[in-house]
């Protein structure tokens, strides 16, 4: 230690000690600043940061509710939730994604479309989140995957609930189907209620009663780390399952109706005339809702769409057909009630009809005519001439007024989406829609349900039920418990109530009379059916032309129609059948109606609901 180092002049010591004092002040000030800063964060802004820390840590995860079941009137399940298996991939556990996909392709079927969708989702997903690769694995695929499990780290087979329709195409237009929810659908509804759910009812009951079937979403408060990985469920608010719905539909009768239509395009609607409960509602061709419910590639949906037979189109509700002679009992009743005709009065039909001052000749469907006919025979034989004259005498506006009371040209208000309104023309209607004056000739055409008149099968079935009920309207419905909604159609009271009987008699005569157009179906029945055939022209036939079925393309063939109710004494079923391009109502549509009616009556007999005296 050198002496120089040890010299300790008071001045030097004071300088350094002075500076140490300065340093002490700086240190104190610095720690004061730090303490001020920390107290600002921890004391003054505590609420703000506490909230942000809470937001950081807790994530609300939606829990999807179980969708309600749909059952038929006997409790048979029409729509249920079945465990299905979905193939998912956890990206962070996969080293070589293209390699994995090609290896997986050897075990399960992977089409390019599925893989493309998967890659798309992969881009947006976080590495620890399972990305769905394929839905609806078959049992064989599940088995193959579990055997090869060791080869595919990061690949999981996940069970989930998928909508399943045990009866497939048979109930497709009533039950409808669920599908992946679209952006547009989400915008219309409350998106918060659909978090955690990926499907929504797209058609039929699934869509109409979506709010009741869906149930209420549950919530889980999940603690997550900074990467969003779920660690622990803190709190769980269970989802409320959707409501189970029991329909009035009888799936066996529905099946009978579908079989009756067979390969024809068309629709059959059967309802209980007392309550309006739909017993069967079929539209052919149908489609398999299971294929649409989940995982169907857009291309198959497009194929259904592009099918010229339009399997997705619900003909029972949306198909608008000229009703043809089906309108005759209604017009007869209207004309009699309005005093235009007397039911007992007869007229002679020679197969031709002329209007004063009009060149054109209107022909009957039977070239030689029906001879002398009264109201009952005019309906039973479907005499066109009688109704040409009736229409001309009654006038279009009176016809419009009366037919509208029966529901023609109006919506029935069935609890299914997409019902379309028919047309019951009037002067005002034509002026409004076509901006043209009304011609007398058009009145004549309207008398046999042609011209502008259009009706849907559901409306014809409902109007027929109103005849069966002698003026009491019913609102068709699928849900057995009444929803308390008003029937848009008012009860019809006649001054002369006996006219109901005359009209019904005319329809009974159609089926059971010697000359009735539907007499072929009336044989060997232990009860009576009241019915009316209809054959509706698809294209206009010139006044002097003959209708030659063989010369026409099938698509221009007449539509065959039949409306009926039975048993006449105690109506339990009213039916409307429309067969597109089916030819004549009596040959094609009437036997289908009888099949459906008889199946239902037999069932009622078996259940002891009805006694008909059948051995």
């Amino acid at each position: 230690m050198s002496l120089e180092l040890l010299r300790d002049k008071t001045g030097e010591k004071r300088i350094v000690r002075g500076r140490i004092g300065v340093v002490a002040v700086i240190v104190a000030a610095a720690f004061f600043a730090l303490a001020a800063r920390i107290s600002y964060l921890q004391v003054i802004e505590y609420d703000h940061f506490a909230a942000r820390s809470q937001d950081n840590r807790v994530r609300l995860a939606p829990l999807a509710p179980t969708r309600g079941l749909i059952r038929d009137r006997d409790g048979r399940i029409l729509a249920e939730n079945r465990p299905a298996f979905r193939l998912t991939v956890i990206p962070e556990q996969v080293d070589d994604m293209p390699g994995l996909l090609s290896a997986l392709g050897e075990v399960v079927e992977l089409d390019p479309e599925t893989v493309a969708t998967f890659r798309d989702t992969l881009q947006r997903a976080r590495s620890f989140q399972e990305v769905p690769l394929k839905a609806r694995l078959s049992q064989a695929e599940v088995a193959a995957l579990s055997v090869n499990r060791h080869r595919f780290p990061g690949v999981e087979v996940r069970p989930h609930l998928a909508r399943h329709y045990p009866y497939g195409p048979i109930g497709s237009h009533v039950v409808g189907y669920v599908g992946r929810i679209s952006e547009a659908e989400l915008r219309e509804r409350d998106p918060r209620r659909y978090r955690g759910t990926s499907v929504i009812g797209k058609s039929g009951v699934e869509r109409w009663y979506e709010d009741r079937l869906r149930g209420e979403m549950g919530l889980a408060r999940i603690e997550t780390n900074a990467l969003g990985r779920s660690l622990e469920t803190l709190e769980r608010q269970a989802p409320q399952p959707g409501e189970d719905l029991q329909l009035s539909l009888d799936i066996e009768l529905q099946s009978v109706a579908a079989d009756a239509l067979g390969d024809h395009r068309g629709a059959i609607v059967a309802m209980d005339p007392r309550s309006g409960e739909i017993l069967a509602l079929t539209s052919r061709p149908g489609f398999d809702p299971n294929a649409l419910a989940d995982g169907l590639e857009p291309s198959s949906f497009e194929a259904l769409r592009a099918d010229p037979d339009q399997p997705l189109f619900n003909r029972a509700l949306r198909g608008r057909y000229p009703p043809g002679s089906v309108v005759k009992p209604f017009l007869a009743l209207a004309a009699a009630a309005a005093g235009v005709i007397d039911p007992d009065e007869t007229m002679f039909c020679n197969g031709r009809y002329h209007l004063p001052d009009v060149e054109r000749t209107w022909r009957d469907w039977k070239p030689e005519g029906h001879g002398r006919v009264d109201l009952i025979q005019a309906v039973a034989q479907s005499c066109d001439i009688y109704f040409y004259d009736l229409a001309y005498r009654m006038g279009i506006d009176a016809m419009h007024e009366w037919m509208t009371r029966f529901g023609f040209g109006r919506l029935t208000g069935i609890d299914l989406p997409g019902e379309r309104q028919g047309v019951m023309p009037s002067r005002a209607w034509k002026r409004r829609n076509l901006d043209e004056p009304w011609y007398h000739g058009e009145t004549v055409n309207t008398g046999i349900g042609q011209g502008f008149t259009l009706a849907t099968p559901i409306q014809m079935a409902a109007s027929t039920a109103m005849l069966a009920n002698r003026g009491e309207p019913v609102r068709p419905r699928l849900l057995r418990r009444a929803d308390g909604q008003e029937n848009p159609i008012e009860p019809l009271r006649l001054d002369d109530e006996s006219l109901w009987q005359v009209t019904i008699d005319s329809m009974v005569e159609t089926v059971h009379g010697r000359q009735g157009t539907a007499r072929a179906i009336g044989r060997e029945l232990p009860y009576q059916i009241a019915g009316k055939t209809g054959t509706a022209q698809v294209i206009g036939i010139g006044q002097d032309e003959e209708y030659d079925e063989d010369a026409l393309d099938e698509r221009f063939h007449d539509h065959a129609l039949f409306t009926a109710f039975a048993p006449v004494a105690d109506p339990r079923i009213s039916v409307a059948v429309v067969v597109e391009n089916g030819g004549s109502g009596s040959q094609t549509a009437a036997p289908m109606a009888r099949t459906v009616i008889d199946a239902w009556i037999r069932q009622l007999e078996d259940e002891g609901e009805l006694v008909t005296g059948r051995p």
Partner: protein, 378 residues
């Protein structure tokens, strides 16, 4: 060091103090404070590691090595350090040159020498070697330090700082520079000189911004000015650490109950951002306690400098204490959003080896200065 002659307890304590001071050359007060702070550090680290004991044991081992280094350095009388100062400085400078030539890359910087069994970070040694060198330089002349002496000292400071700066290791470079300048300041550097220096730095800042700074460094400054500029990127660390601190409130969320820490929202939570973990779990009261311990250590260091018996010891003790202070201030300031993010650990608490060993070695020097005093003084 006041004591009353009556009372057995106090006599006993004085005797212990004497034993530590005279035989082992350890300063009891400083040792107690260091152990207290390290204990707090172990408790916080246990939580920051999510309740795992293994990494904490590793920390404990390094702490033991550091305490050993401290005990060894405490035995060296300041006069010997004075003689060795230029040689130590020269040796560490050579190591720094070696780093630049054959150093290991890591995290985009070249900081380590791979010695096979051990990664040596020579810039750590410079934190002690430079203040020692500057103290040696200015203590040879009469204080206050002259203009020439100041310029010579600044030149000596600039060499290692520049070498560390180009590794690049901004945090250590700042700390080493601070250690050197602190000694100069204590040596009575003129106020006018200081003001001129401040002006020069202010003038140099834009030039440095344009040419001298790496992009990530510029990013840190921008983020400091406005963390919400990139809340999920550059600003994420500072935002999350402030949320952690703020949500701790007055009393904290409780040990092992800090959600920000345990759910991994706090980045670098056992190293540079460990203060946020502590503040979250122990609240403002815990923070004040730790501040108290830090202040006590700094006060003790300054007292040792004040009591030192020669200029070299005074300047060195003051310089080491000030370096410790800069460590604390920069780290806590950064974690709480008062300063830009600079990669500096929280002294004696953060997990990490080399800086803790250096810090404890520095305290060993402080103890040596204090315990090798001649008894005729004071």
């Amino acid at each position: 060091m006041s004591w009353s002659p009556e009372g057995l307890d106090q006599t006993a304590r004085r005797a212990t103090g004497s034993l530590l001071q005279r035989i082992l050359h350890l300063d009891g007060v400083l040792l107690a404070l260091i152990l207290l702070l390290s204990g707090i550090g172990l408790v916080v680290l246990y939580s920051a590691f999510g309740g795992r004991i293994e990494p904490v044991q590793g920390h404990w081992l390094r702490l033991a090595i550091g305490l050993g280094a401290m005990a060894v350095l405490a035995q060296i009388p300041p006069s010997r350090l004075y003689r060795m100062a230029p040689w130590i400085f020269a040796g560490v400078t050579l190591l720094l040159i070696a780093v630049l030539v054959i150093g290991q890359m890591g995290g985009g910087a070249r900081r380590w020498l791979d010695l096979g069994f051990f990664n040596l970070q020579p810039s750590e040694f410079m934190k002690l070697a430079l203040p020692m060198m500057v103290a040696w330089l200015v203590a040879r002349d009469t204080l206050p330090v002259s203009l020439g002496g100041s310029l010579r000292a600044l030149a000596v400071i600039a060499v290692p700082v520049a070498m560390i700066g180009i590794q690049p290791d901004l945090g250590t470079a700042i700390l080493v520079a601070a250690a050197g300048v602190a000694v100069l300041f204590l040596a009575g550097l003129g106020w006018r000189f200081l003001a001129l220096g401040a002006c020069l730095i202010a003038a140099a800042a834009p030039v440095l911004w344009m040419f001298g700074m790496q992009d990530y460094q510029k990013d840190r400054v921008l983020t400091f000015l406005d963390p919400e500029r990139d809340p999920l990127g550059a600003g994420y660390n500072i935002i999350q650490s402030q949320i952690a601190i703020g949500s701790g409130g007055l009393y904290g969320k409780g040990w092992m109950d800090g959600t920000q820490a345990h759910l991994e929202f706090i980045p670098e939570r056992h190293t540079d951002f460990v203060f946020a973990v502590m503040a979250e779990e122990f609240g403002f009261l815990g923070v004040l306690l730790v501040f108290g311990v830090y202040l006590a250590i700094i006060a003790r260091g300054l007292w040792i400098a004040h009591e030192a018996q020669d200029n070299f010891s005074r300047l060195l003790a003051g310089g080491i204490t000030l370096t410790f202070f800069v460590y604390c201030f920069v780290n806590i300031g950064m974690v709480s959003g008062l300063l830009p993010v600079v990669g500096l650990p929280l002294p004696l608490i953060s997990y990490g080896g080399s800086s803790m060993v250096t810090l404890l070695a520095g305290f060993g020097i402080l103890m040596a200065i204090h315990t090798h005093r001649r008894m005729w003084s004071s």
